[in-house]
Symmetry: D2
C-alpha cells in the first residue's frame, strides 16, 4: 500500500504537485485492450479547472505522455507508464507558509511526519493533482469494463445547500450521464446546476469555499462479485476513495440514513421481473455481504469545502509559538466537487475492474 493500490490490477502513483510531473504506473491490464488516447486525455481534462469563473486560474494543459505498455493503440500486457508535466510550477507563494500551517491542510502533521523536509508547495504529494494518476488508471481500464458490460458513472449530488432533486436520480445511467455532462458542475439537473454555480460564485466572491456530495453508480456487475471479509466491495472501494484528498466520508446504498430505518423498511425484497431477479428497493446499494447483488452499485462520498480560502484565517507560528493571521495566496478552486467527480468515477471503475480481474481466476 502507500503509493500503490490494487491486487490483480495495480496502480502506483508518482510525482507531486510542483515537481516536474505527476502520473502513475498501471500493472495488470490484460494485453490487447484498446487505448484511445483522445478518450484518456478527455478523462484527464474532466478533472481540470472547470472554467474561468468557477475554478482556479492555474494553467494546466495536462497533456498526457504514455511511455510504456502501449503498442499500436493496444495495451501490451506490460505495465503502462503515463504522466503529465507540471508546466506552471511556482514555488514562491507557498514557501512562507511553512512556519504558519494552513488550517485544513496537511501542513502541520506532514511537517511532523517528514521532519520538515518535504516541500509541500501546492500540497506536494498531498495535492489533489496526484489524482491525475488515478484518472489515468481508471481511463485505461474503462474499455475492459465496457467489454464486460459494466458501466460506471459519477455525478455531483449536492453542492453546499443545493441538491439534485430525487426525481432526476431515477434516470437510467446513460441519460444520467448525458444530463450530468451538460453543465460544468457535473450535476444531472440543469436548475440545480445553475443554483450550485451561483453558490460557488458567491463563495468565490466572499473569499470562501463550499463542499458537496458526489454519487457514483455502477451497473452490470456480475452477481457475487467481491471477496469475503476484509475485501468486501465496500471496504476496498472506501480504501481507494479515501486516497482522494478532501474526502471525509463514504456510504453505500441508504448509507447513514439506514440508522433511522427499520429492518422491514431497509431490507430489499426480492422479486422476479421479466425473468430477471431484482430487488424492489435498493437500500443495500447493490452490495450484500460485501458482494454485488446485481442491482446498481450506489455510493456517495462527501467532499469537504476547499481548505484554501482567500479570507484571512487564524493560525499560529510553529517556531515562535505565537498566534498569527494567515492569508493563503495562490490560485484555488472555491469548490472542487466538479473536478473530483471524474476522479471518483475512475477510482470506482478501477476498483471494480480489479475485482472483475480477480474473479476470472477459477
Amino acid at each position: 500500500m502507500r503509493m500503490s493500490f490494487g491486487e490483480a490490477l495495480r496502480v502506483t502513483v508518482f510525482g507531486s504537485s510542483h515537481g516536474p510531473e505527476v502520473g502513475s504506473v498501471v500493472e495488470g491490464l490484460p494485453p490487447g485492450l484498446p487505448v484511445d488516447l483522445a478518450q484518456v486525455q478527455a478523462a484527464l481534462d474532466r478533472r481540470r479547472p472547470v472554467g474561468r469563473r468557477l475554478a482556479t486560474r492555474r494553467a494546466e494543459p495536462d497533456r498526457l505522455v504514455l511511455t510504456e505498455g502501449i503498442s499500436d493503440g493496444r495495451t501490451t500486457g506490460g505495465p503502462v507508464v503515463g504522466y503529465v508535466r507540471n508546466e506552471d510550477v511556482r514555488r514562491g507563494p507557498y514557501r512562507p507558509l511553512e512556519d504558519v500551517p494552513r488550517p485544513g491542510h496537511a501542513d502541520y502533521p506532514a511537517r511532523e511526519r517528514y521532519d520538515g523536509l518535504m516541500d509541500l508547495s501546492g500540497g506536494g504529494i498531498f495535492s489533489g493533482r496526484m489524482t491525475v494518476g488515478l484518472v489515468l488508471a481508471g481511463a485505461l481500464v474503462r474499455p475492459y469494463l465496457t467489454a464486460k458490460g459494466v458501466s460506471v458513472l459519477a455525478f455531483t449530488r449536492s453542492i453546499h445547500d443545493h441538491s439534485v432533486p430525487e426525481t432526476a436520480l431515477h434516470l437510467p445511467l446513460p441519460e444520467l450521464e448525458a444530463a450530468s455532462r451538460q453543465n460544468e458542475l457535473g450535476a444531472p439537473d440543469a436548475l440545480a446546476a445553475q443554483a450550485m454555480a451561483q453558490t460557488i460564485e458567491e463563495a468565490r466572491r466572499s473569499g470562501d469555499s463550499v463542499g458537496g456530495i458526489i454519487e457514483a453508480r455502477a451497473e452490470g456487475l456480475p452477481v457475487g462479485l467481491g471477496e469475503p471479509f476484509f475485501d468486501p466491495l465496500e471496504g476496498s472501494l472506501a480504501h481507494a476513495l479515501f486516497a482522494i484528498p478532501a474526502i471525509k466520508g463514504v456510504e453505500f446504498g441508504s448509507g447513514f440514513s439506514a440508522a433511522g430505518r427499520r429492518g422491514s423498511e431497509n431490507n430489499d425484497p426480492y422479486e422476479w421481473v421479466g425473468g430477471e431477479l431484482r430487488t424492489r428497493t435498493n437500500h443495500a446499494g447493490g452490495i450484500l455481504g460485501g458482494l454485488a447483488t446485481g442491482m446498481p452499485l450506489v455510493l456517495r462520498v462527501v467532499v469537504k469545502p476547499t481548505s484554501s480560502i482567500a479570507r484571512e484565517q487564524d493560525s499560529v507560528s510553529l517556531s515562535r509559538r505565537t498566534p498569527e493571521r494567515l492569508v493563503v495566496t495562490g490560485r484555488h478552486d472555491p469548490c472542487i466537487v466538479p473536478r473530483a467527480v471524474p476522479v471518483v468515477e475512475h477510482v470506482t471503475g478501477f476498483v471494480l475492474a480489479d475485482f472483475l480481474l480477480r474473479r476470472g481466476r477459477a
Copy 2:
C-alpha cells in the same frame, strides 16, 4: 487481503458462525506485551448478546482459548492463535432458506459467488460472529496502545431516532467511557439509553429491527501518524471497519455534514493553548492529509437495522422463479448496535496500533 488485514500487525480471521469455532491468528505483536486473559475475555463478552430482553437468546459462552504465542502472561513475539468454540450450533433452521434468499442477507450473492456450495447457516463466514477474531486481535493489542499513551473508545451515538445529546459528547474520554459502560446500550447518556432500549424492545415486539450509529474516538496519537496517499488513516480504518457486517458508511470528523459547510466554517483554526498546539474546532476529526493532527480522532459508522426480522417478508424461489413469502426463524437481535460497539472500538485500536508499529521503523 480477504481473511487477513494489517501490515506490521496482521490479523487472519478463521472459522464460521456454525462451524466448530471462530477466532484469529494475530501476527506482529511485540514480544513481552502483557496479556490479561480476564480482560481479553471481558472484551469478547462485550460483544455477546446484551440481555434477555434486548438480544438473541442463543447461548454463546465464548470462552476464549489461546493456543499459541503467549507464555507466562506475555506475548512471545510469535503469532498468537485464539478462538472460541461454537457450542450452540443448530444447522436445521437455516437449511430451507437456500432456495429462498433472505432479504438483506448475503444469501443470494454468496450463492452465486460460491456456486451454492457454501453453507450459510447462521451467516457462515458472513456472520457477525466472525468479529470475535477482530475483538481478540484488538484486545491483545490494547496494552501496547496504553503503553504508547493512546486511548480508544467506541460508544453508541444513536439508535433509530434516539441520539445521545450533543452535551453528553463533550465529556473527556474516561468519563465518556464510564458513562457508556453504565448501560447495556453502550450510550453515554442514561436517558437516551433508556429511550433506545424501549425502541429496541418495541422493534422486537413488532417482529422488526432497528439500526444506529456508533462513534469511535482515539486520543494520544502522535502528530503525523499515518502514511501517504493510499494508506491515509481514513482509508485504512474504513477498509478494516467495513469487514464488520451491517456497516454501510464511515465518516470522519464533521463527515457528511461538511458538504453543507463553508471552508471558513469547516477549517479548524490553530491555536496555542497552555504551550500545546491544538485546533479550536475539530471538524477534521483529528486527520489532515491522512495524518493525525494530534486532536482526537473521531469517526462514525452506520449500522443498518438487523436483516433477520421475525416478520414475514417478500422473497422468491430461485429455482422455481416464483414469488415466495419468507419467515426467518432462528434467534436474532432486533438491534446489533450495542454488540457492534466493542467491535468498532477494537478494530479502530488495531488499525491505529498497526500504524504506530509501522511508524517505529526509522
Copy 3:
C-alpha cells in the same frame, strides 16, 4: 507475508511444534474442488517419520481435522481451516537448552528476536512440524492442478554422497513417481535408495546426520505462466520453498552448473516435434524470463544435515559467557530429506496453482 503466502491462493500457517496443534488456513480455493480426505491424510502421512530405523521415534499420528470450508466432499469456496493435534508433546527435554544454544538451530537468533520470550521447545514456530500446514494446502489444491493438466512431483535426488543415477532421471513423470514411491527414501532408484538408507543408518549409529538434495518437477504448465519482474516463477517458488526449515539453496534447470557452461551449450534450441514446440535440451528448467516455456519445470533444493545430532557439541552459556559442551537429547531424524520430499512437492504445487489462478484473470 510472514505467516501467510500467496496471492490468488493464500495459506496462513498457525500453531507450533509443541503447542496443541499445527495447521493452516487456505483461502482462494475455487468452490467445488473435490476433497478426498484419505488423500490429504496420505499426503500428511508422507511427511511423517519414515520408519523405525531411519527416523525419529516421536509418535505423531497427525490425524487431520478439517473444520471449515468443506461441504459434502467439496470445497465451498470459503477459507478452509485444517490442523493436526500435537499429541506427544514433551517440553521437558528442551528447556535446559535455553541458555546454551544448539548449533545449527534458531535458538540464539530467536532469543534475540523475541527477547527470550518464545518457547522454542521442539523448534516452536521454527520447527519442521510447521510444514504440516504447507502440505495440507498443497494437498487441497492438488485436484485443481490435476484438472488443469498439471502434474507435480518431488523426489530425493541425493543423500550425502549417494545420488540417483542420471539414467533414472529420464523416466516420464508417472514412472518417476512410481519408482520414487517404492522406497522410504523417495528416491527413484532402488540401488541408490539402498545406499542412502545405509548412509543414514550409519549416521544414526555414529550420532550424526546427513543432508541431501531434492528435485521437483512440474509438467503441463501453460506456456507463459508467471508474472514479470518481481514475480517470476523462480522468485515466487524460491520465496515459498525457503519457508521449509533446513533448506539453504534453490536452483532451476542447470542451476549452478550453468556457471561453467558456454551460451552455445546452455541455450536450449527450439524444435518442432510431432507438431509440438519444444526445446532440444532443458537447461532453462522450463523457465525463461520468469515464465513457463512449456518444457518441464525442474528445480532442486538442498537440505542441510539435521542440526540436532546425538554427539556432544561445542556451544556456550549465553549468561555466564563460558564455553559449554552440549548434548541435544530428544528424538531426531538423522536425515530429514525423505520427509521434506512431500513438503517440497506440495509447496511447488501450491505456488504453481496460485499462478494458474492468477492467470485466469483476463
Copy 4:
C-alpha cells in the same frame, strides 16, 4: 508484487529497455537521509558496460534524473522517483525475431503471456536494463545501512572455469571490496581476474558467452534480524534476487555443498571470542531459522551465460512451424557477470534495509 517489492521499503520499477526511460519509485526511505548524487550515479555506472573489449558497445550514458523526494541533498520521506533515459534506442534489429524466438530469451513464453503484443526489442521489460531501478533503490538506501553499521558487498566469485582462490576470500570486507574494485571483473584477485578477462575475450571471439557466480556478503546485521516462516532472510533475498535476469540459483552459506556434509561438520559451534559471541565456522551463512546470527551473511547466485550469442543457432518459425537458423544481431556482452555484481549488491542491501526498517517497529 510484480513490479513492486518490499514492505517497509518499497521499490516499483518502471520503463523498459527500448522505451524512453527506465527507473523506479522508491517509497519508505526515512526523511533526512543524505543523497550524494555522485555516489548514486557511480553505483549506476558500475552496472554499465565494462570496457570496449569485454562488453557491449551500446552507448548508455545512464545519466540519473531524480524528480521527487529529494530536497537540499536529503530525502524528504516521500517517494523518490528516479530514472535514466534510453538514449541509444534502435528497434530495427530486434523486430524480425518475433516469429523466430531466440533460444535462452523470454521471446516465446512472453509472446504467449502477452498475446504477442509486447515489444520485446532489447528484452523489453525482461531486459537487464530494468535493473537500473534496482541499483537506484539500493544506492539511495546505502547511507541508511551505513548509519546502522551494516556493510554490504558483492563480487565476482567465478567466471566459467576460473574462480577466485579460497585464500582471497578470507580478507575483511573493506579489503575484499578494495581488491574487487581494482579490475573490471569485480573479482577480488588480480590473477583470477586476468584469467576471467581472457576467457571472456575468447568467448567473444568465438561468438559465444560465459556465465559465472557472484557472492554477496553483509556484515553488521543485528542478531535476530528477519521475520518468521514466510519472510526468512533467505526467502526474501531469493525472491528479490530472482528479479535479476539470468539468475538461475541462489544459495546461502555452504549452500548446495551442505548436501554432502554431516551435521557434525555443518553445524557451526558457538564460541566466545574477546567478549563477543561468534561461531567457529559459518556454514549457515549468517542465517539460522531465517534470522541473522550476527556472523557475516553470505550468499551466492549463479548467472547463466548470456543468451544472446553471435553464433548461428537452431530455432523455429512459430507461424510456419519450420526449423530455422537464427543469428542474433545487436550489441551484447559475452559475459554479464561483472555488470550484475552491483545489481546483486544493491538488491541485497535493499532487502536488508527493508528488514531493518521493519524491525524498528516495536
